[in-house]
């Protein structure tokens, strides 16, 4: 991926354009979302043993003016390649496209991918199909994404669009000029937490990772930051001891970072901290109480009946048994109501608490327990 920033297109490479229409020359930029890449890698693993590469269709969104293309999704398409000919399952492609568009109506056909860096005649043939009129991406150029999956090498992605080249008419369908275009891999905030978990497993032998709780994630992040801070302070110390060479730029940078710490009054901090921590603790205490109460309520809902039914068995008539049961239930209902009443006055306060000045009653309450 080293070369991904080394493109210079003063004007956007021209794709095939309809005669008479004014082709745009704005630069084209391709954004790839990680799940599309993951999907391609998965497909590459599931190829048949005799297949050199596999191909599939890319789906995504294109900006209004067509200058930015975002690859969001993709699906595999079966194909077979021999020395002389290539066969792509077009029916499959069309059916899958229809199914995918049903689930993601906003996504459109963007282009296709292949899991090898090689560009050959067959690539041109397939590329011409994907950018053709009708089923293809015409009038926009189809994007071709290659992802090398050679074992032992870096996984390298490249994106191309194509332009027709001047050859004889009979060879026009299987030749085109692939023009590399820049791309970037982008992930949103929502994906970040997923990627964190996934990349947490990258250094492990078994390539698996468990889901961690929030507090564990926090601990790990803090440990990591402490490590980084240690490293910086070590460096600063060794500069002070004249063991390491100093650097003005680094000094300035550190000074700027340290200057970001807000200047606040210690008493204010103390007060705000105490207020807030009390709020948080009370909320935690209340939620635990609620949990216990719910548990109790549910237990009473069935437990009270046990004694009721026992009484019922003791008495003779059917009506008497029902009566005993009724007594048991009545008792349960009463408890349930009592529990509600006891909790009621506290409830409305909860959501407001973080912003409210503390009343002296509640901290005492939490200490009692």
């Amino acid at each position: 991926m080293a070369g991904q920033n080394s493109f210079l297109h003063v004007a956007r490479p021209l794709g095939p354009a309809a005669i008479g229409s004014q082709p745009t020359t704005a630069p084209l930029n391709v954004v790839i979302q990680p799940q599309a890449l993951f999907s391609i890698l998965d497909h590459s693993l599931r190829r048949n043993a005799d297949q050199e590469r596999v191909i599939g269709t890319l789906l995504g969104v294109r900006s209004e003016d067509g200058s930015e293309v975002e690859i969001r999704n993709c699906y595999a398409v079966g194909h077979s390649e021999t020395v002389e000919q290539v066969e792509v399952d077009m029916d499959y492609h069309k059916n899958m496209l229809a199914l995918h568009l049903k689930a993601n109506p906003r996504e459109i056909l963007i282009g296709w991918y292949a899991t090898s860096n090689e560009l050959n005649t067959f690539s041109a043939l397939i590329q011409n199909f994907y950018s053709s009129q009708g089923d293809g991406t015409f009038p926009h150029p189809a994007v071709h994404l290659t992802l090398s999956t050679t074992p032992g090498r870096d996984i390298e992605a490249r994106t191309y669009i194509s332009a027709p080249v001047g050859v004889t008419p009979e060879r026009a369908s299987d030749s085109c000029l692939f023009i590399p275009v820049p791309y970037e891999i982008k992930y949103g905030d929502a994906e970040k937490s997923g990627l964190e978990l996934i990349s947490g497993a990258k250094d492990r032998e078994d390539r698996t990772a468990g889901v961690v709780t929030d507090i564990e994630a926090l601990e790990r992040a803090i440990e990591e930051v402490l490590g980084l801070l240690d490293r910086v302070s070590n460096y600063v110390n060794s500069v002070l001891d004249e063991e390491a060479p100093p650097s003005n730029a680094l000094g300035q940078f550190l000074l700027n970072a340290l200057a970001l710490a807000p200047k606040v009054d210690a008493a204010d901090i103390e007060r705000d901290f105490n207020n807030h921590i009390q709020d948080v603790l009370v909320v935690s205490y209340l939620s635990n109480t609620i949990r216990t109460q719910i548990d109790l309520s549910n237990r009473l809902a069935t437990a009270a009946l046990t004694t009721g039914a026992g009484d019922g068995l003791g008495s003779s008539g059917g009506g008497g048994g029902e009566g005993g049961q009724k007594g048991g239930r009545e008792q349960r209902g009463g408890k349930g109501r009592g529990q509600q009443r006891e909790r009621e006055p506290r409830e409305p306060r909860e959501p407001r608490e973080p912003r409210e000045p503390r009343e002296p009653r509640e901290p005492r309450e939490s200490r009692e327990n």
Partner: protein, 369 residues
């Protein structure tokens, strides 16, 4: 819990990174509407491997954006996994996936959640539908979009417990049946341990994404500006995720508290319903007892007058006992309350840690006292 796990044919769930990314993408795209989709994979010695997934078709939202309409759209999406049209879609999709060597077994479904509000009748019905229909080795994956956005990924796997399956099959959730089956709200859903699994290719790819800063010494930057614009400066790594150090966690806590209060409200309504039923029952039973006593006295006088006694069980025809309301809503709600309470616990745990960190950062030296 351990016992239930032993009975269940599945011991744990292993999710491919691809599936994680696909679920995250789908769920965050449709947020806050519920998103659902299907999972494919296979089960190996009690470990359910989820290797691919696809979303269910989006529900056409009517252009009228009144509140009521958006509600019905949410419901339609939540009910999608058991809708008839989607069964067809699902089998079509699986048929096509089989052609490109994807594991073609349906192993469950996934849904999105907002702050843990996933314990509802829809989820239970969907999972019941899957667990009943298929070879019963199916799971429900729940991805919590809002929780994932503020820290570590929240993805959990659930199954219905066998005892709940039996009770749900009968469709009876009366106090009596609950008592007999010993079913409590804790036993509705069984959570399975979940791990993430990466393929070799993916591991190789992940090593090219931003990771920890290099540990060796680097060249010194010439100036502050060059340090800031240095393209080789390490980006924040994906793992550990520094986002979990974010301090603004209060909104999440507040939201959870609000939801918790709503659930308690529902609980209260349920209790009221039950009490109403009990009062009704008591009234009817009082009437029956009065009638029986009257009949007995009548019979005594008739016996004294040497007349044949009147039948004593006619009351079954004369009086009708009210139907006991189903306890299912109450049970699910209790489970939901428990879920919220635990969530509050988790939030308060990390928030208090962060607060102490902030305090000692702003008041250095205070910690030593």
């Amino acid at each position: 819990m351990a016992e239930i796990l032993k009975e269940s044919p599945l011991k744990s769930v292993q999710v491919e990174a691809l599936v994680v990314m696909k679920i995250i993408k789908h769920c965050s795209q449709t947020f806050p509407t519920t998103a659902t989709g299907s999972l494919v994979g296979m089960d190996v010695n009690g470990v359910l491997q989820v290797t691919n997934s696809f979303p269910f078709p989006a529900v056409e939202v009517p252009s009228v954006d009144s509140h009521h309409d958006s509600n019905s759209a949410t419901n339609a999406a939540a009910a999608a996994p058991r809708a008839k049209a989607n069964t067809v879609y699902q089998s079509d999709m699986i048929k096509y996936l089989r052609e490109v060597n994807v594991d073609a077994n349906n192993v469950g479904w996934y849904t999105s959640a907002n702050m843990g509000n996933f314990v509802n009748a829809n989820v239970v019905e969907n999972q019941y539908f899957y667990q009943k229909e298929m070879n019963e080795r199916t799971v429900a994956l729940v991805h919590d979009v809002s929780r994932s956005s503020q820290g570590s990924l929240s993805l959990r796997a659930f199954r219905l417990s066998p005892s709940f399956m039996a009770a749900f099959k009968e469709g009876k959730f009366t106090t009596e049946s609950l008592q007999k089956s010993n079913l409590t709200y804790r036993d509705i859903l069984v959570e399975l341990p979940l791990t993430i699994h990466n393929s070799h290719l993916l591991t190789s790819f992940l090593h090219q994404l931003p990771s920890k800063p290099p540990s060796g010494p680097l060249d010194f930057p010439a100036s502050l500006a060059s340090l800031k614009s240095d393209p080789n400066a390490p980006q924040p790594p994906l793992y550990p995720n520094y986002d979990s150090l974010d301090l603004s966690i209060d909104p999440f806590l507040e939201k959870t508290c609000d939801l918790l209060l709503d659930s308690i409200e529902t609980h209260y309504t349920e209790l009221n319903n039950h009490q109403y039923y009990q009062r009704q029952l008591a009234r009817e039973q009082a009437k029956i007892t009065a009638w029986q006593q009257k009949r007995k006295a009548e019979n005594a006088t008739r016996a004294a007058a040497k007349q044949p006694p009147l039948p004593e069980d006619e009351w079954t025809r004369l009086f009708k006992l009210p139907q006991e309301p189903s306890r299912l809503e109450g049970l699910l709600n209790s489970r939901q309350v428990e879920q919220y309470a635990r969530q509050v616990d988790g939030f308060t745990a990390s928030i208090s840690g962060k607060m102490f960190a902030v305090k000692s950062n702003l008041l250095p030296g205070d910690g030593q006292q």
